[in-house]
Amino acid sequence: MRNLNNMSMKETVITLRGITKIYPGVVALDSVDFAVYENEVVGLVGENGAGKSTLVKIMIGFEQSEAGTITSSTGEHITLKDPVTAIRYGIGMVFQDSSLVPNLSIMENLFLCHELGFQKFGFLSKRSMRDAARSVLEEVKIRVDVDTPISEVSPAVRQMVEIARLLWLSKLYKQKNPILILDEPTTVLNDSERETLFTILQDLKQQASVVLISHRLQEVVENSDRIVILRDGKNVTEMAASDASISETEQLMVGHTFSADRYREGDQTSPGEEVILKVQNLSKKRVFEPIDFTVRKGEIVSLVGLVGSGKEGVCKCITGQEKPDTGSIFLDGKKLSSGSPSNAVGAGVGHIPIDRRNEGLAAAMTVAENVNLLVLKSLRFAGLISPYLERKNAKRWIEECLIKTPSLTTMCANLSGGNQQKTVIAKWLSSHVKLLVLDHPTRGVDVGAKEEIYKLIRKLAKDGIGMVIMCDTLEEDIGLSNRMLVMKDGRLVKELDCPLNEKPSPSDIIDFIV
């Protein structure tokens, strides 16, 4: 705790108080406080949906809060209406996916929107821009040809260019202690690049503050001075990084309290004997190492691991979105041809994607059309699609899946996230899939709808559908699954049974994950 007291001697550069942000149906932030002190690296951690991204988006003016105040170092209340305003106060963000314009060169991106300082006789002087670009990039220790288009440089260089741009802009606006927000900066980097990044961040601390967001708790604990933990859009606690341990932090992020039957464990069924999915020696270069596993009838198998552990890659190979380098996938004993989504669907592999708005359903089509999309063949009468059969089928599955929709012909875009997700599930249910890959099925869905989605998942299991699932939280993984496969750095490191009443605790599993 002594460290925290020391911290209070430092000046704050920005203070956010009582920040509340409400999205339709979800309270993303509930009266959150957050301060950044000068010359520090502060780690901002929390599970998916805890509100980290929303909080930093408000800090850079990308989103506006419904309530709360933002105060600058001078005690002045500031309104951040857009990123352009935020950068004038020295607040900038390096995004997960680069925010540089791909067709412009490094130099052009560095000074975008601030070119006029380089004007000579009405024209921009490329020479003086080049010189300035080189000296700006010197600060982050990269040497590149500044005329290279951004689309041709590595993610590590892009990141450094973004950092350099933010530093340069803060200097331009005479901000003594800029705030750099880094959202998952290491997901795109390899080990040595990661090390370089953190060395540079420690250097930058002399002249700036850094807000670090990362799934990799270890790197947050190792590289921050202070850690702020959010959960369900609320402050949990903050502590000096030197006092923090990874497992303790993880527990604080997850929270202890949750209702006994939150994931409807009571409805958990034991899987059948028959093997539905058999994955043999499957591998993809630089994504995951050869992996073998099976999923039985009615079994829920959860893949857990950090972002980058390779679990997403495995799922994409099963659904045919990606082509594996080696190995084969058998469904009901029949080999699937690899890398073909249509073949996978035809064989009976369903996929509930994380990005349901873009991949899961056709938002501009009606609920009924979406539900019927895969079974149109069976809804024909005399060779033509029968509106009567279509309505009948849609009605049946809408009732069965508890989709709350004003009518059969409501556009999917107008449904809530939870009901959209239920529509996606209904689509697969009606098409009699054998195996379902669920990619974060409760992402961005409110508590009530979560409950109903859990109910549906149990029902799917009871009907004998095998499932491969990746969840938002470890708790959810444990609660839902019959069996868990832990992946780390592209390898399957542990297999755990999760039978009813004998579920492992999160802390048992975290050790394998990190």
């Binding site: 857009d82 990123p83 925010s99 314009v101 067709n103 070119e115 004007q119 009405g122 921009l124």
Partner: protein, 330 residues
């Protein structure tokens, strides 16, 4: 000495790669080479080269205007309507056999103004009303064309003021004036693209509009200006087209859209936006003109020539767009 030549060659090579015209110059050389052989040298006769340059002038001016809308990530299909309307103004206001008016050389700012006004409207409809440029400019084209025919009653008006005509058809030491005008415009627009903030913003918007907006670029203003420049250049082309013929007829503007878009695409202006400049547009116009001229000299059936142009357009787009980066093709 050899070292110096080598290093300057490397510099030239790098310049080509960076400016993105290496492929276009190569295609031009190939086209010229093939027809030079095919016509047993007739193609390379001075008179023919002059014809190519003078024919390429107007498509080049149109493409200098149109390609910038493509670089923005939009497109401008209003060429034919704008040119048609401008020509009607020429037919009414220049000294002619039927009408009472004679504005003399004031016709130059008037046609440029009419074209520019049409461009402002296209830009406003696209940027402010948020109507996709494909639709807004297509609608614009038909609207203006309709107005042009209605006003002119589709009559042909012989012009009696030949001052502009003599400039358009003249030449300076063998080089057609129209080609020189196109070259001057090319230099100005290219310089703006390379060396001004405005130029930089066009490319930033074409590269990623959302990012450009976040960086603080006033997107709407840039879009409107780009459409306006395009309109002004269509107005200029309209003036040249009608005075060159010595008569004003609104249908003179038809069949201009296809060659202009083909020129931009062949020149290497990516239809996904953000790539290619004025030099690409002009080279594209030159390649397309050289190709058509060669086909004529080889006595290829005119309908086959049209088919060849169609194939060239699709092939050029296939080569300039990195389709791997596009999720879906619509």
């Amino acid at each position: 000495m050899r070292k110096r030549i080598l290093s300057s060659l490397v510099t030239v090579g790098r310049w080509f790669r960076r400016t993105g015209v290496a492929g276009q110059i190569l295609s031009l050389v190939i086209v010229i080479g093939v027809f030079a052989i095919g016509t047993k040298g007739k193609y390379l006769a001075l008179a023919n080269l002059q014809v190519i340059l003078s024919l390429a002038g107007i498509p080049a001016i149109l493409a200098i205007g149109l390609h910038q809308t493509i670089v923005l990530g939009a497109i401008d299909l209003s060429v034919e309507g704008v040119v048609g309307l401008c020509i009607v103004f020429v037919g009414i206001l220049m000294r002619n056999q039927y009408g009472p008016y004679d504005v003399g050389l004031w016709i130059i700012p008037i046609t440029l103004g009419v074209g520019g006004a049409a461009g402002v409207v296209s830009g406003l409809v696209n940027a402010k009303l948020k109507i996709p440029s494909f639709i807004s400019t297509l609608g614009m084209s038909w609207t203006l064309y309709g107005i042009a025919i209605y006003i002119s009653k589709a009559t042909t008006v012989p012009l009696l003021d030949h001052r502009i005509q003599s400039v358009v058809n003249g030449n300076i030491s063998g080089i057609p004036n129209i080609a020189i005008i196109a070259l001057v415009l090319l230099i100005i627009v290219q310089l703006v693209q390379d060396r001004t903030q405005f130029g930089r913003y066009i490319y930033a918007i074409g590269g990623d509009e959302l990012l450009a907006k976040q960086a603080g670029i006033k997107i709407d203003r840039i879009k409107i200006i780009v459409f306006t420049i395009a309109g002004i250049l269509y107005g200029l082309s309209a003036l040249f087209l009608s005075t060159r013929l010595g008569s004003a007829h609104p249908r003179t503007g038809t069949n201009l859209l296809f060659p202009t878009i083909t020129a931009s695409a062949v020149g290497g202006v990516a239809l996904t936006g953000g790539i290619g400049g004025a030099k690409n547009a002009v080279l594209g116009a030159l390649i397309v003109t050289a190709l058509n001229d060669g086909l004529i000299l080889m006595h290829v059936n005119p309908y086959v020539q049209e088919a060849v142009n169609g194939v060239v357009l699709v092939a050029a787009v296939a080569l300039t767009i990195d389709r791997k980066k596009l999720g879906f093709i619509k």
